[in-house]
Amino acid sequence: MTELSESDFHEHIDDTLMAIEEAIDEASLNIDYETSGGVLSLTFDDDSRIIVNRQTPARQLWVAAKSGGFHFNYDIENGLWLRDSDQEELFHTLSHLCSQQSGQHVNFN
């Protein structure tokens, strides 16, 4: 299996954080977002948050939400982040989590 180099890892993370921001804009959702120090924070109407950050030693993307913590590995072949426990794709998980916390239907796919 090919290992992700640290620089590629950071590039993929930064691209992904940007893609999440764009997806929120495109869907015209009432979710505030801010990326600071490479960490993306989403804030919902009820002040609950979802935080997306990187765990560099493990080469993982981490999502902290109200309903739990989720860890994703990068699938180099398909260019996707897949959840370590059940291989669910990142944006699929995020749609679900954002729907839960915003109370509106969110679909990033």
Binding site: R49, I50, Q55, A58, W62, A64, K66, G68, G69, H71
Partner: protein
Amino acid sequence: MAYSDKVLDHYENPRNVGAFEEGDDSIGTGMVGAPACGDVMRLQIKVNNAGVIEDAKFKTYGCGSAIASSSLLTEWVQGKTLEEAGQIKNTELAEELALPPVKIHCSVLAESAIKAAIKDYQTKQGTETEDTQA
């Protein structure tokens, strides 16, 4: 972001710190995390013949939330069956400790640790019956 009183209490007075003796088949050990990642958690359970957790111990190298999550977990699992203990969710730990959002990951580690300890115990029991001539 400040830690809650409950986190501080577990951090300053951690419950059930330590380790059981090696080579005891009634002990299950779960070791999760990696030094490079900043957190390592070692959780051990002592299980009686009825499949109930009688005692639990932990050693955690990590932040206050990681220590508090594993300390609380050792309190919660005592008296529970393996099945009940395996159903403890990271969100329940995070809620009890009022962890800040990003610290949910510490409770995820604790949930992984108890699951690993249960699996280790079950593997030991399984090997014991298959391989009596050790």
